[in-house]
């Protein structure tokens, strides 16, 4: 049944499967998400990032695969010959709605892309779990296997103060959906620094350095690759954070200029985000063959000299 197709330099077998009643082919090794998106299906994703191995932790991209007892995460399940996939059923809609509600009721998703659209599409009402509790619990001190009993009214959240412990970026874990991408980017998938980890268990799981020490005491090398992959704005340039606090952050007015990092000979691609003729943050294209979105401290944060003017 399978035919050979050539993609780039690799010869990959082509797999036949059915998505929403339509027979399609997809290259061997691709995921259901790839196949669904290639055939025009709009499947929401939250924890998925295109430079990190999918952790399938958020479970918003679930689809129904015939023969499977549970739903299947499309971001990480590979296509198989003869698979019959349904992306829009009562069960998938229910799952997506509930995942959006569970996250929306416990995490600040105000900077998460597409969230309003998906909430509307899936009829998600995060408020139905009760008023969010902003009770101040020190999440870093949570005791594994123990919890404070619910008060019978409010819905517990991951709300906590913003961590500002260095000059370059802030960590606002009230916005963290635990996609694991920052941990993977810091650790074995990109940077090999291992400054951060997932600590604790269950609802008290949090991204943390050892003993929650400040970043300045941790192994962090300030490459900012964690900021690059963060899908919810929990990790943010200090420059962006301060402008947002001051109410001067104006994304629609910003321009993005691609250039090559001038510091060394590697040739990393930089995207300079500029507002009012000032660089406000630096990213790197995730599909760039040199960087895959990654930079070092110099490329990521070393832009201040560009806009230093000569003292009068």
């Amino acid at each position: 049944m399978s035919t050979q197709v050539t993609t780039g330099l690799q010869v990959r077998k082509s797999i036949e499967l059915t998505i929403d009643g339509k027979k399609i082919t997809a290259p061997e090794g691709s995921t259901l998400l790839d196949a669904c998106r290639a055939s025009g299906k709009d499947i929401p994703t939250l924890c998925y990032g295109d430079t990190i191995t999918p952790k399938n932790a958020c479970r918003v991209c679930m689809v129904e695969v015939e023969g499977s007892r549970t739903l299947v995460p499309s971001c990480s399940r590979k296509v198989e010959s003869g698979m019959v996939v349904n992306t829009d059923t009562e069960r998938t809609s229910h799952s997506r709605k509930l995942v959006l509600e569970l996250l929306g009721s416990s995490v600040d998703l105000s900077l998460t892309k597409n969230i309003a659209k998906w909430n509307q599409n899936y009829d998600a009402e995060p408020s139905r779990f009760g008023a969010p509790s902003y009770h101040h619990r020190k999440r870093d001190d949570a005791v594994t296997g123990h919890h404070h009993p619910p008060d019978g009214e409010t819905a517990e959240t991951v709300h906590q103060p913003v961590k500002i412990d260095n000059a370059l970026y802030v960590r606002d874990y009230s916005k963290c959906i635990l996609c694991y991408q920052c941990v993977d980017a810091c650790g074995e998938q990109w940077q090999n620094t291992f400054a951060i980890t997932t600590a604790g268990r269950g609802f008290d799981t949090r991204i943390s350095t050892e003993f929650a020490v400040d970043l300045t005491d941790s192994a962090c090398v300030y490459c900012g690759n964690c900021i690059q992959v963060c899908p919810t704005g929990a990790l943010m340039f200090t420059s962006e954070y301060e402008m947002r606090e001051a109410g001067t952050w104006n994304e629609p007015e910003q321009t993005q200029t691609d250039t090559i990092c001038p510091y060394c000979g590697v040739g990393c691609a930089l995207t300079l985000h500029v507002q009012d003729n000032t660089i406000v943050k630096v990213t790197s294209p995730s599909d760039h063959s040199v960087t895959h979105g990654n930079l070092c401290i110099k490329g990521r944060f070393g832009f201040q000299h560009v806009q230093n003017t000569k003292p009068e």
């Binding site: 952790k55 399938n56 932790a57 958020c58 479970r59 918003v60 679930m62 549970t70 739903l71 995460p73 990480s76 399940r77 069960r91 229910h94 799952s95 509930l98 995942v99 569970l102 996250l103 009721s105 416990s106 139905r128 779990f129 009760g130 594994t144 296997g145 123990h146 919890h147 009993p149 619910p150 008060d151 019978g152 009214e153 409010t154 819905a155 517990e156 959906i177 635990l178 650790g187 090999n192 291992f194 400054a195 951060i196 980890t197 997932t198 600590a199 604790g200 268990r201 269950g202 609802f203 008290d204 799981t205 943390s208 350095t209 050892e210 003993f211 020490v213 005491d217 941790s218 192994a219």
Partner: protein, 602 residues
């Protein structure tokens, strides 16, 4: 690796704790040495990182000796194993038996789980001051129970059950617990040689291999070697045996799949992380007949071509640890383990791996991560463990009771074994009967006995008790009511009745038990034990607990229908979209209580 170690130096005691397991450090911390000319030659990183599976044992070693895991200890372990301190912190904080804050050397863990709170009313709020509330300790037949851990040069662990509040307070104050009851008391049918799985309990000395051999011990291994590996798989398949851990997967199919793998390095894991509330059958087997665990694992390894075995034992079972450790040492000294076992040319070793307080580590892929020195989070399936398991190799994971069934299968033949039981459920089954019965304990029955017969076997209800409900299969199982007493205890009948046998829990609850309190405890249990990886389970278990709390608080005044609908919605997303069985079953018992027992709909 380029480690950055923050402040905090290990004390001498902490170093001894680590070195006692890993050996003395070489000249420099990261394994570098000086050659003849005095140059520093490092061959650290790669070699050290091969030792990552020593992380959890090393953390145990420190915790056993010091009582907690300090910054200095993590820094030292980091250097010895070449793992970043943050990663070690992430692993250490995953387990409930560890603490990264200083605490007293003596910890009194008081079970506040289903059977114990039904027996004593002990809850998180009412346990004596200084005690630590604990999930099920697996001694439900003697509820309520307490586990004392006193850390020091030799760690001491004592189980006291049943325990009165005064006794608990005495334990907190430092008194010793009286000697534990003999294990046979937990199996009221014993001693009885005609039993199949419990035939040696109360008859043999669990520490004596001579007793074991004199009572049919190692006859199955000899026969297995005589008939050959392939025929062992044939017999196990013919027996119709299915997994006894709760998922009921056909054992023969699993064995055949592992045996057929092209990769030669393979592992067998005995899943002894028995943590399902109300379950204690594996504990009784391991404490009372430890050589049988070793023998059946050896047969499994022989049949499927595994070279190394792990027993993943929950951290709260001190007597099982002692008896299994002895059994492995003695079996090795008699050539039942090690190289060229009984002259067969087959080599096999077993390592005991202690859990550290995490129900999730009974999930078969979470076991792999836990052994490998990572957080005990389940992995995505596929790939399945039979192909890609421990250390990425094909791995056979079987529950203790499942493995024990292999002995009668080989001794008798698979066909004979399959002649016991019903059409869909073959063989013998152990049930953990606890609660309001006269003689709680582990009972062996042939599949097909009814719930009523089982309760009668356990001496019937206690005098004065009226049956309110029975929890079948544990917190991940479901409740049935007094009208279900004629339910046949087979996999198929339980399924038809919309219930499950799970891990064999039969917890009998009488009129004195507050069902709403039991449901709230189940919700709290799943919340505490969720690993936190996926959203449906991490947040869903919290929302489930909150919805129950709202129903209790607003009882009679609020609109229960809204919260009942929320619970159903949560149940569906957890069942449909959670990564593993924990989240998928976290609503089962609550659902059964709402629909069958009509809790909250009065």
């Amino acid at each position: 690796m380029d480690l950055k170690i923050a402040s905090g130096t290990a004390s001498a005691e902490e170093r001894i704790a680590v070195d006692s397991l890993l050996g003395a450090p070489s000249e420099t911390s990261q394994g570098a040495e000086r050659d003849e000319s005095g140059l520093r030659v490092s061959r650290g990183g790669g070699e050290l990182r091969q030792l990552r599976h020593q992380l959890l044992p090393t953390l145990h070693s420190v915790n056993d000796r010091i009582g907690f895991i300090s910054r200095g200890a993590i820094n030292y372990i980091s250097q010895r194993l070449d793992i970043a301190p943050a990663e070690i912190y992430g692993v250490a904080t995953f387990y409930a038996l560890f603490d990264t804050n200083e605490r007293p050397a003596r910890q009194v863990h008081v079970c506040v789980d289903l059977a114990c709170r039904a027996a004593s009313g002990c809850t998180e709020e009412t346990i004596p001051e200084g005690a630590i509330p604990s999930p099920c300790l697996g001694t439900c037949e003697r509820a309520p129970s307490v586990l004392v851990i006193e850390t020091g040069v030799t760690v001491r662990q004592e189980v006291l059950a049943p325990a009165t509040k005064t006794q608990i307070a005495d334990l907190v104050a430092g008194k010793s617990a009286p000697a534990e009851q003999p294990v046979a008391q937990a199996a009221p049918q014993t001693p009885n040689k005609s039993l199949v799985l419990l035939s040696r309990i109360g008859i043999v000395d669990p520490l004596s291999i001579d007793d074991y051999v004199a009572n049919d011990g190692y006859s199955a291994l000899r026969k297995a070697i005589a008939i050959g590996a392939e025929n062992v798989v044939v017999e196990v398949t013919a027996s119709g045996l299915v997994g006894r851990g709760g998922a009921a997967f056909p054992t023969g199919r699993k064995w055949a799949a592992v045996a057929a793998q092209p990769v030669k390095m393979r592992y067998v894991i005995c899943n002894a992380d028995e943590s399902e509330p109300g379950t204690f059958k594996d504990r009784v087997l391991m404490e009372g007949d430890p050589f049988a665990v070793i023998e059946s694992m050896t047969i499994a390894a022989f049949a499927t071509g595994c070279q190394h075995g792990y027993i993943y034992l929950r951290g709260e079972y001190p007597r099982a640890l002692r008896n299994l450790t002895n059994a492995i040492d003695v079996a090795r000294s008699k050539n039942y383990l090690g190289d060229n076992i009984l002259g067969s040319g087959f080599n096999f070793e077993i390592t005991i791996f202690r859990g550290a307080g995490a129900y999730i580590c009974g999930e078969e892929t979470a076991i792999f991560n836990s052994i490998e020195g990572y957080r005990g989070e389940p992995r995505n399936k596929p790939p399945f463990p039979v192909e890609v398991g421990l250390f990425g190799k094909p791995t056979l994971v079987n529950n203790v009771e499942t493995l024990l069934n292999v002995l009668p299968i080989i001794n008798n033949t698979g066909e004979k074994y399959a002649s016991w039981g019903s059409t869909g459920s073959k063989g013998k089954k152990l049930f953990c009967v606890s609660g309001a019965v006269t003689k709680p304990g582990v009972y062996e029955v042939t599949f097909g006995a009814t719930l009523r017969e089982l309760i009668n076997l356990a001496g019937g209800l206690k005098s004065g008790s009226q049956l309110q409900a029975v929890l079948l299969g544990g917190a991940a199982g479901g409740f049935v009511g007094p009208e279900d007493l004629d339910l046949e205890l087979t996999l198929e009948a339980a399924r038809t009745a919309g219930s499950t046998l799970g891990s064999g829990v039969v917890m009998v609850l009488d009129q004195s038990v507050n069902m709403v309190d039991q449901l709230q405890r189940i919700a709290a249990f799943f919340r505490d034990e969720s690993c936190g990886q996926c959203v449906p389970c991490r947040v869903g278990t919290v929302r489930q607990q909150e919805a129950l709390a709202r129903l209790v608080k607003s009882s009679g005044t609020g609109d229960a229908a809204i919260d009942l609908q929320l619970l159903r919605d949560l149940g569906q997303v957890m069942r449909d979209a959670s990564i593993c069985g924990l989240g998928q079953t976290a609503h089962n018992a609550i659902d059964s209580a709402l629909t069958r027992l009509k809790v909250f709909s009065a």
